[in-house]
């Protein structure tokens, strides 16, 4: 029997986590950007950070947000102010590994490949990363209280346009 988030909000089961990720990555792959901030509680931490910064203890990130508001601003900036060539992004996550529990939340890790396809170009890897996530129950659904995407990639192929 499948578990739906609305029926069992408090239980952060493996199935619920799986559903959360399926929903999250489908939302991004389908570029439903305005739905993306809803995967995070009001207070949250979102970082896409180079591995060398992460390991040195630096918090400086390629993308950073400290609230759902900042995530919305990222979408606004992207959709209303930024200029970029058209492209497809597709994300290839591995299955999440549960690494701990914290104040009722669940910490997970999984690997992620982000592949982009530009017009007239072969598909290429934008980044190869490990995601450090903290999943919590919030307002009757699961959300990412923290999502820190630590990418190995030393040299990004030009821009990182959409969120990961």
């Amino acid at each position: 029997m499948s578990t739906t988030l609305t029926e069992r909000p408090a239980a952060i089961t493996r199935d619920a986590i799986r559903d959360l990720y399926d929903d999250y990555y489908a939302t991004l792959d389908e570029v439903r950007l305005h739905d993306w901030p809803g995967f995070f509680p009001q207070d949250c931490l979102y970082r896409v950070i180079p591995r060398e910064n992460f390991e040195a203890g630096y918090t400086l990130s390629t993308m950073q947000a400290e609230s759902r508001g900042m995530l919305k601003d990222r979408v606004t900036g992207l959709t209303r102010t930024q200029m970029y060539a058209p492209r497809y992004y597709r994300r290839f996550p591995t299955a999440p590994r549960i690494v701990g529990e914290e104040n009722g939340g669940v910490r997970t890790r999984h690997n992620l490949l982000l592949v982009q396809t530009l017009i007239d170009k072969p598909s290429e890897i934008v980044l190869s990363a490990v995601c450090h996530d903290l999943i919590v129950a919030d307002e009757g659904r699961l959300r990412f209280a923290e999502r820190v995407v630590v990418f190995d990639s030393e040299m990004l192929p030009n821009s990182l346009v959409y969120p990961v």
Partner: protein, 413 residues
């Protein structure tokens, strides 16, 4: 000042010499090879890193100057050396990590060892084994060290040059740019906040041009224009050095308002509101009313002060049609935790995913795509006229014209 035009064989330079530059400057492999020789390995200071990246004797950082790998190493308490990362024996790039610490520099291939300043110290089996083999008696350790570059550490930044002819760094900047430089690099100790690295598939000069071109800033960068960070109608200036090679774009922050000049900015977003404006929590921290000082030091680096975000952006050319772009975000060592957080937040505007900078990476790539197939067509650089001089406004391409005039001079074209 006009200089005669001498394009290479088979190429033409437009008659409007200062205000038109042909696209073969972005794509010709022979021109690129000559640039490496005359510019990158010639009489110019190149950015290597920050002094604070290698605090202890034996700390080193690898970097690339032009296309050549180097090691920047603290060789003594008060001495920084920059040596080529190329073993004198067989050419091995012996330091492979970005950062490290060691007592000496050793090549893994045959274990030739060098002192931290690049002096060759040891060659295994130099005297042979049981009277067999070994190096000739006249092999001189002192003549076979690593290639040492000239180095100056200037208010926290390490500069190096391959040429003996390069003037002292302060003279290389000139007094005007010494003043611009020391406004931010004022002798206070610096500290690294983090790095960003991206490969931009565009000729390296395009990056210099981009930060010498204030005309685009309020047009391409809707984020800048909308929030008043950098816009044509704000009090601003462009300064260039006497040679035309260095430039600075100076501006001061305005408000999010619709002004007369905004009619020309098609996509100004007057109704745009940030949900969480902490990313725009700007404080005035430098003397004067200017909030922006974007310096281009020819040829290798951009020194960014955009509100409270401070970076060095190093250009590493990778052939005529691409360059690596290394961003070092930094703060002052005595910054409060609040100031560090502010600088870190504002970094959302810059780097490969920056609300502003991502536009630049994209448009540079698009320029390379459009220009490369038509090497004999040329760009139009007439905004602000044809002269090359400092201005008290930003509706000009004067600093781009200045760079190309200097470029022709040093390239002998």
């Amino acid at each position: 000042m006009t200089i005669p035009v001498r394009p290479p064989e088979g190429r033409l330079w437009p008659a409007d010499a200062d205000a038109a530059v042909p696209y073969w400057v972005y794509s010709d492999p022979e021109i690129y090879a000559e640039e490496l020789r005359r510019i990158w390995y010639g009489p110019h200071w190149l950015y290597v890193g920050l002094e604070c990246e290698i605090p202890n004797v034996g700390d080193w950082k690898t970097a690339t100057l032009g296309e050549r790998p180097v090691v920047m190493v603290r060789s003594a308490q008060n001495e920084i050396s920059v040596v080529e990362n190329r073993c004198a024996h067989k050419g091995v790039k012996f330091c492979q990590a970005r950062f490290g610490h060691s007592e000496e520099l050793i090549c893994p291939y045959h274990q030739w060892s060098y002192a931290l300043n690049g002096d060759l110290q040891g060659v295994p089996f130099r005297r042979g084994v049981k009277r067999q083999g070994g190096m000739p008696a006249d092999f001189d350790l002192t003549q076979n060290g690593l290639t040492k570059l000239r180095v100056e550490e200037v208010n926290g930044v390490v500069w190096a040059t391959f040429s003996e002819e390069t003037p002292a760094f302060r003279d290389y900047l000139g007094e005007k740019f010494w003043k611009h430089y020391t406004r931010v690099y004022d002798g206070r100790k610096l500290e690294v906040l983090g790095y960003n690295r991206q490969h931009i598939p565009a000729n390296w000069k395009q990056m210099q041009e981009n930060i010498k071109d204030p005309y685009h800033a309020g047009l391409l960068h809707v984020f800048f224009a909308t929030f008043g960070l950098f816009r044509a109608d704000q009090k601003s200036a462009v300064d260039i050095d006497d040679e035309g090679r260095h430039g600075i774009l100076i501006s001061r922050k305005g408000e999010q308002e619709k002004t007369e000049a905004m009619a020309d900015i098609r996509n100004f977003q007057g109704d745009l509101v940030l949900e969480d404006p902490r990313v725009m929590d700007v404080v005035q921290e430098f003397p004067g009313e200017e909030t922006v000082g974007m310096i281009t030091i020819f040829p290798s680096v951009i020194l960014q002060q955009q509100v409270n975000s401070l970076t060095t952006r190093q250009i590493v050319p990778k052939g005529p049609d691409g360059f690596d772009f290394h961003w070092t975000h930094w703060c002052y060592a005595d910054d409060t935790p609040e100031m560090r957080l502010r600088r870190t937040r504002q970094a959302n505007l810059f780097g490969p995913a920056g609300f502003v900078s991502a536009d630049d990476g994209e448009v540079l790539e698009m320029t390379q795509q459009g220009a490369t197939p038509s090497p004999d067509a040329h760009m139009i650089l007439q905004m602000g006229g044809r002269t090359i001089e400092s201005t008290d406004h930003q509706v000009t391409e004067t600093a781009v014209r200045g760079m190309y005039r200097y470029w022709r001079k040093v390239m002998g074209l």
